[in-house]
Symmetry: C2
Subunit: 464 residues, 2 copies
């Protein structure tokens, strides 16, 4: 098998032994890669050829992008082969009139953002891992991030897509058009299915007008209702310009300011809720006036108690640093368990209280930090209860996930399922939905060779 | 079969005989419905029950929404049963904070728009048939319309969905959240698949902030390059506020003004291209100034030759009437053939010239009218060549569709495939893509009972 691959792709395309173990599949824990080998195709055709050979030999594979995921989606066992997209990282074309960019799946997000900026446009998706995560990974996991409230998730940015099926067939739907209703929209199958139905090789992405003027504030809210009122108020006052509305519960804000001393608090730490509000527009002065006025009227209506408005890029970065200091959280909340749920906004306050109470009952010394994309209904919960063994983890997961069932909530807003959350899927999906997922998996990957046991398990995999 | 249905759903739910024939399945031609009967379930459960009975009896069905489609997607033969969603037309809930609305599939688009307006929000999808077309039809065909450039197509408006599979199983994925990556996004299967994979019963739709101030202009462009330059210019100057950029070729503009006298021309008729530009924002006076200034600077750069800016709602309606006078086109271009293609914007001018030339060679007296959503890469071509028989139709279709193959264009941007375009699908889809569509159809509707022969044909249908 590896000999055949070496012959077709060249020896330089294959990594084995120490080169494999030197790679970590999990940036949080540093777990090394256990795969038999790492294959690095240099073209979509080489990737298709690799999958044809694997299919003939019933060889299971695991796809690797930027390895910044959080749900063990890239773990591989010694009998699996890793296919890394790292050499498929070209930006193939950019069309400023059509506002599209054509890229290979291994291209890092930031490279795509920069290419768009170079022609006076922007690529709308943005998230903390931008320097490492790849477009293919963003597509496979339907990534979210900081600007979903305005531009939608990764799914909304994808116009055309090319993917290779488990049997090596290339499904090329590289339409550069916003609109294409010529039959089923096959690309949707590969977006957000975490590499279990095919491997994304190339994509045509939508670009947006550049927004040269950014206004950012960190505000304190006197209550949860005030915070949701503020969201409605900012939506109505700023219209489509509101690009981020990132909530922080007091436990998060205090931990990263007063408690740890990592950041100076831009506003006092006595309020129960904090929000980073960001607005992006094209007209600098008018936009600034609109933004300030929207905050002022919110203050008059009692929707916020205090506000710090960034006066420079450095101040803006300082505000965001409190929200995005994952390094600080990893350090302060070790061992850290991260969660990513979504639920109706109106239920969030009581949901977080319930999780907090249940955790406290079992681990009085435990700590919880909560923040998230409020406008998207998405919360990140960071828990630390002293231990991280399987049993403890399961008990904590139960505290976080169980209340979601009756709220029609989701156990994953943006991180995906991978291996980590598979057993919790019935919280968010009905038996008929789960059966339909298996139907799709069987139809597209009947031998269960792609990212085995991740998201769903089909009959062929049970035999393994 | 019908007796069973009468017993379960009540006799009033079933139409037969003259009541069936009195319905037209095609508003352009008035073709009557030939189905054996029309079943009108009053609840999603009744619809599921209907499909369970049909599945057991291997009874093929055709789904009816508002019957405003253009591709013969609602045609039914005497051995088929029509399932109409007309009694499932409730607006179930509206959440102003979460900015969502929960509706049944038979609710007309306009009713949903009005419900959103009543709480100070807007539902972004808009199209000429708004009074008759239904949300279920909008979803099944992934409708486009006039505001795609800003808000995307129907797919982008759907957060949650409920559909009934061919065997009567209800797949309920009614998540009200913007973000939900808990496994495969099953709703995508039912959006744009024209009722061939399941019947949509309910949906949770995303609402947008209301935009109280609308600015509209009709401008004349001296060349195609000027028109695309104007699109880029308006995108950059108005940012996200640009909500429509509707191009008209001279043949369309002249036909509906000078030639027919149906509308007074707001600007002279000597230019080769015309555009309706619309911008929507929250701040009336500043927005007006931005809009006027954007047009002025475009004039200075030679991107437009003349402009008429609407000063009132009546004037605005007058400008749009030239673009939307389908009645006029039906009258002036009888017998009318309508097309709906998409292609890269840079190729549009030469594509239209080529179609015009090929048509003229075969039908020197033929007429062509071209307009479309330029920003979306979507053109509508209206052709009239004196006859409308099957052979003539095929030859005209060949002139319109054949050049799209080498341009990576699509034979349907927004109308869909239905029966009308099925044989032309290979122009826009590769054999592997078509095979994958059949794989999906077989997996979800193995007996081929839903909207037979529309979009794709699977093995079980060949046996019929």
């Amino acid at each position: 098998m590896l000999d055949q691959l070496c012959e077709r792709l060249g020896a330089g395309a294959i990594l084995t032994g120490d080169d494999v173990a030197a790679r970590s599949v999990d940036w949080l824990t540093g777990t090394p890669c256990h795969a038999a080998a790492i294959v690095r195709p240099g073209t979509p055709d080489e990737l298709a050829e690799t999958l044809r050979l694997c299919h003939a030999a019933r060889q299971p594979v695991v796809t690797h992008g930027g390895l910044t995921g959080l749900v063990h989606g890239t773990e591989a066992s010694p009998e699996e082969l890793v296919i890394s997209l790292e050499r498929l990282d070209a930006i193939e074309a950019i069309d400023p009139v059509g506002a599209t960019i054509t890229v290979q799946a291994g291209a890092p997000l930031q490279k795509v953002q920069e290419a768009a900026e170079a022609v006076g446009l922007q690529f709308a998706l943005d998230l903390g891992a931008r320097g490492s995560c790849t477009i293919g990974g963003n597509i496979a996991t339907n990534a979210g991030g900081n600007r979903v409230i305005r531009y939608g998730m990764m799914r909304q940015q994808v116009l055309g897509l090319e993917a290779v099926l488990a049997d090596g067939r290339i499904i090329s739907s590289m339409s550069p058009m916003l609109k294409n209703n010529a039959g089923y929209d096959l690309k949707q199958l590969f977006i957000g299915s975490e590499g279990t139905l095919g491997i994304v090789t190339r994509a045509v992405l939508r670009l947006q007008p550049a927004m040269p003027d950014t206004r950012t504030a960190l505000v304190a809210c006197p209550s949860f209702d005030a915070m949701t009122g503020l969201l409605t108020h900012m939506r109505q006052t700023l219209g489509g310009e509101l690009s981020a509305f990132e909530a922080m519960w007091r436990n998060h804000y205090r931990l990263l300011t007063d408690v740890s001393g990592r950041h100076a608090p831009p506003v006092g730490t006595e309020s129960p809720f904090y929000v980073i509000i960001e607005s992006q527009a094209i007209d600098a002065d008018r936009h600034g006036a609109r933004f300030d006025q929207a905050l002022e009227s919110a203050f008059e209506e009692g929707l916020l108690a205090d506000a710090a408005i960034a006066q420079s890029d450095a101040q803006r970065d300082g505000l965001w640093a409190i929200r995005e200091d994952i390094e600080g959280l990893v350090h302060l909340l070790s061992p850290l368990m991260t969660f990513d749920v979504s639920l109706p906004i109106g239920d969030m306050a009581s949901y977080v209280e319930r999780v907090e109470t249940t955790l406290q009952e079992q681990w009085p010394q435990g700590r919880l930090s909560v923040f998230g994309h409020l406008g998207d209904g998405n919360l990140h919960l960071m828990a630390s209860v002293g231990s991280n063994d399987a049993d403890t983890r399961h008990r904590v997961e139960s505290c976080v996930y169980a209340p979601l069932a009756e709220l029609d909530g989701s156990i994953s807003a943006e991180h995906g399922i991978g291996l980590e959350k598979r057993n919790w899927l019935p919280i968010s999906r009905s038996p008929d939905e789960l059966a339909l997922m298996v139907t799709l998996k069987q139809a597209l990957d009947p031998h269960g060779l792609l990212n085995r046991h991740k998201v769903v398990t089909c009959a062929a995999q049970d035999e393994h």
